[in-house]
Symmetry: C2
Subunit: 465 residues, 2 copies
């Protein structure tokens, strides 16, 4: 270890207490990666777990002084390597800042620390009849800080938006250790630049979020559920376009292509009624409540029938709805059981979903691998997943080739290379491609303005030059 390294460790231990500074590589390895297996990760000098803002400030100041990068990290559920360690860095874990500081029902807001688990916040506000919408798949263990850093999405987005839409204000520790307060407690406000939304989604490259004021909604009604089976992707895509075009706003609208359906059927041992062709399954929910929900689902069902659905079934019964949703919940375990896989995260205009599914089929055929497609049809955010055999010669490379071709296709369809997972240490080249030279330059200018010495997560999202 260098003198700088040991001096820094001594400072960190003095500031946080020795128990909050982990250096045993067997232990720190658990904090060195998130859930994206393809992104590179390094070996940190230390993993630190401050339990208050002053601790975060002390870590940032000490690292800035020592010229050691800080990689902020939440629960580690990320899917882009954004929280992956760099060699010799300090991983700053925010999970010990885990207090719900305030729930204010009359103003419909909550003030929380970043380490609060998404589910815990949901449960706490539900007791007041309130709802915190963002619901990434990992909602039962991911942290609000990570959700903020990645601007997490989920199933709710079609009706309730993404994380940034629920954030009123932040406290952020900047690269010099100073504490910035952004935004406000009011639902409106135009005093100055919208720094809040600049930090949301900045993937730990601009600062460490230490507190957030979050807007809450009324708790929705128990949802009614509709399932529609199509014998062709074009019909399913047309149904999605028409549902959106007719102004219907389901609270959930998920799509699975035929390959996903078959994987789920194998996994659950049931027949989902799509048949053996290039079909697709659409799952919708309405949380409008009572008669309104029945009307909404009836209208969605009519659109599906008109678009050529082979089967449409709707239910207001919560238990039956949960049973129908079982197919959606089985997608991840079903894919897990198929072997190694790379899950992409393109988002396309909602009218181009069928084109994306069909294109993914062609890409899979070209590389000789299966690509299963499922995703959030309501907002066009699709997760094509390439299945491969990690032990088979050349399959990883072909899978990666397919993965990149899917990003390319997403852009060609007028979409983005990442709808909700982020860029991190994995999609930097694709971000550069999507932003173009002017966009990249502005990103670098903003980064340099707020973090001139590259303290925070350098090289993640984009290179500094």
């Amino acid at each position: 270890m260098t003198d700088t390294g040991s001096g820094l460790l001594a400072t960190l231990r003095a500031e946080l207490g020795p128990e909050a500074v982990l250096t045993d590589t067997d232990v720190t390895a658990a904090y060195a990666r998130d859930r994206m297996p393809l992104a590179p990760s390094g070996t940190p000098l230390a993993v630190v777990l401050p339990s208050d803002v002053a601790g975060v400030q002390a870590v940032v100041r000490a690292c800035a002084d020592a010229g050691v990068p800080v990689v902020p990290r939440g629960a580690g559920s990320g899917l882009c390597g954004g929280a992956n360690a760099l060699d010799g860095c300090v991983v700053l874990v925010t999970t010990k800042l885990d207090r719900i500081l305030e729930i204010d029902p009359a103003n419909r807001l909550a003030v929380v620390e970043p380490g609060v688990v998404n589910l815990h916040l949901r449960e706490a506000v539900a007791k007041h009849g309130l709802f915190y919408p963002p619901d990434p798949a990992s909602y039962d263990w991911c942290s609000i800080g990570g959700n903020l850093a990645t601007n997490a999405g989920g199933l709710c987005c079609v009706k309730y938006g993404v994380t940034t839409d629920s954030v009123l204000g932040l406290e952020v520790v900047l690269a010099d250790g100073s504490l910035l307060k952004t935004g406000r407690r009011t639902v409106k406000g135009v005093a100055g630049y919208d720094l809040t939304k600049l930090f949301v989604g900045s993937e730990g490259t601009l600062g460490v979020i230490t507190q957030a004021t979050l807007a809450l909604r009324p708790l929705p009604q128990a949802p009614g559920t509709l399932v529609a089976a199509f014998t062709g992707t074009a019909d399913a895509g047309a149904a999605v376009s028409r549902i959106v075009g007719e102004g219907l706003v389901p609270s959930l609208m998920e799509i699975m292509d035929a390959a996903t359906v078959r994987a789920v059927e194998r996994h659950l041992g049931t027949d989902l009624g799509v048949g053996t062709g290039p079909g697709a399954l659409l799952l919708c929910q309405s949380d409008a409540g009572g008669e309104a929900a029945r009307h909404e689902l009836a209208a969605i069902g009519q659109v599906c029938t008109d678009a050529g659905a082979a089967l449409v079934h709707a239910t207001a019964d919560l238990a039956e709805g949960n049973l129908l949703m079982e197919a959606r919940r089985a997608v991840h375990p079903a894919i897990e059981s198929m072997g190694a896989h790379m899950t992409d995260d393109v988002c396309v205009p909602r009218t181009r979903i069928a084109d994306l599914i069909d294109g993914c089929g062609r890409i899979g055929a070209e590389v000789g691998l299966q690509v299963v497609v499922n995703g959030h049809a309501g907002d066009g955010n699709m997760h094509p997943t390439v299945i491969y055999d990690a032990a088979a010669e050349g399959e990883f490379e072909r899978a990666r080739q397919a993965f990149d071709a899917i990003c390319e296709l997403g852009l060609a369809l007028g979409g983005t290379v990442t709808g909700e997972h982020g860029v991190g240490k994995f999609k930097q080249d694709w971000l550069e491609r999507e932003l173009g030279p002017v966009g990249l330059r502005v990103h670098r200018q903003v980064k340099r303005a707020l973090d001139p010495h590259g303290v925070f997560n350098p090289g993640s999202m984009f290179s500094l030059e």
Copy 2:
């Protein structure tokens, strides 16, 4: 005129054609101010009206080369002096870039140039059954570009949010004349920093918006309307808190204090039933449609009754609803008829509205002037208005003293000094106060990063040092 000035004018005329470069001070005076009478304004070197992006780029490049500031301007309906000319500047008017480039109903978006009038966009998308929510009071003549620059609000915000909530992407001419594209056409996306929302609300200090991709919603149902009259502000405030706390989301919720009510009664020659005490009137609408709207208004009515309303009346009839809304529409003309006035724009947590109204009464009494309070109760954005006699010795100064005391009160109640009007060339000191030194420093860092030579609107919003 300096050599620099005449050289720049020659360049501008060559680039845009002579008819698009105005220098006659009788003509340019019409472009030198917005609608905030208290903000300073200067005499521009020229007012230019480019009609395409290349023209905007040419103007910015020429001005940057000449070291002459550019003040971007829309229709001029602003209320903070943000578009007011600086001495010797070039006012860049975007009203000639006025095309609706695309309406895509299936993806529920529109692509527009900044000069499109808000009302024209509303009408154009309504033909497709779609809705562009932001509805500032000047919606029938303000431009989308100005709405974007100020992150405009309006009556819709309680349910549908402010301008930034409807923006998917932008094209912006930067300080070096290059063209930045931000955001995307998809409803979700996390590729890079959220530059879109950084430019929205930046009041012409970071670039010139030349195109916007806007998210549209389904056209709501014709609204049902409810009016509730209270004999005390505390009761009215409690009703607002409970409506929000119970998870009700009206599509409009406006409040008028007793002084506003009496001004409106005088103006309309009617009795609004509030009596002569320190009462208040609450106006709510629900656009949920049919039975859902009736339920929503019934629930709101019950809350108002429980909170002590002296009178509650709801109607599903559109014509009768319009009649009830007449009182709200009469607020501005009623205030106009009272004499000179300064309209403030604080936004407080929704639970503190009664405190704000009562505090404004005290402030008025202290300076010996009347302060009438009305505003968007649903989001706490209040417009206390100080009435004064411009000809009376010392009244302007006392009015300004009351105005500042109202900003102070807004902050003390946990609010912001501007909910929707902006900072511009009027509230810079208050912005500095609200942001604090770290927030101000970050604003300056962002400004310098994107506009290092201070081309755009220098000194507006905040000073560069």
